[in-house]
Symmetry: C2
Amino acid sequence: MSIKGMLIVISGPSGSGKGTVVNELRKNEMYALSVSMTTRLPRLNEKDSVDYFFRTKEEFLKIREADGFLEHAEFVGNMYGTPKSYVEEKINEGKAVILEIDVIGALQVKKIFNECILIFLIPPTKEILRERLIGRNTEDAIVIERRLKKAEDEITQIDNYDYLIINDKVLNAVNQISCIVSAERLKPKNCKLKVKEFIGGE
Amino acid sequence: MSIKGMLIVISGPSGSGKGTVVNELRKNEMYALSVSMTTRLPRLNEKDSVDYFFRTKEEFLKIREADGFLEHAEFVGNMYGTPKSYVEEKINEGKAVILEIDVIGALQVKKIFNECILIFLIPPTKEILRERLIGRNTEDAIVIERRLKKAEDEITQIDNYDYLIINDKVLNAVNQISCIVSAERLKPKNCKLKVKEFIGGE
């Protein structure tokens, strides 16, 4: 395997458009989406090993005991986690594995898996973010203001991230992420094989 | 100035094709070539401030005294150096300034200007490098073997570099360098203004 796999963690406020960007990225087979594990029951149309790994609480806790998660959290009584084994399997296949996760989770992952690349995605301005959230027509004014406040809090963590992307157009953001992956693959620590090929190649 | 300027130092063995790559890059106005200062006399067709800054030994030493060089060296009785002021001026214009220099010089520059990006360029294999050197028809077998040995010595310094590029095709190498510049511009330390625009943008 000469193409170096890696873990790309993408965070960004609600309304930053990260879902759209990730959907665009997954069309390219150089990427693989990380699949989370959960103890909640599957919804209609949700498939095991595709949308989530659906597991019992006992199974989940056993994996957690064995340090089998990159990060995990509880939400409304259900447990969610990113299984290390799946991410490692895809990295070994040479994929850029994408994990879409909030800032707290991202920093947890970075601690365990220092080689991962943290990308933060924001719209060009807070005003544009507000317009996008209003445009959704699904949340009231108080929730929107709370989300804007959270976005502003999260951006103070930007120095813990490796890259910041201004999501003005989806295609620009996608191209910038591809550039980041290409550049990361050119770092000497990811090129040991190429150096060997150079020296030994005669 | 919203586009972040930077210094790109490119090294690589004789025969790595770095001259061709640099000539290709300079066609794009996002790049600027660093101009060296020298005490040697101009050759026919060489222009001051374009090919070199031609200066007297006294002028050169005065600048050296004032710490005005990123690196400097003496070669066959003449002095050569990279003036800080010119590089800084171009960086302030938002350019990616290219400095083509050997490993010793590159590491000197990195010490003084830690933010610079070090790129090492090699052909895919040593055998290809040998063929290129033989193909030039300008050097005898002993010189060629010496150059190959030097290339092998230099590659042991690769961990001090930020990126390694395998120059299989000039256009690939040029695209990879452009990707590196784009990715570097997305690092949070280079995005302070964008973060301000996001927060203050309403």
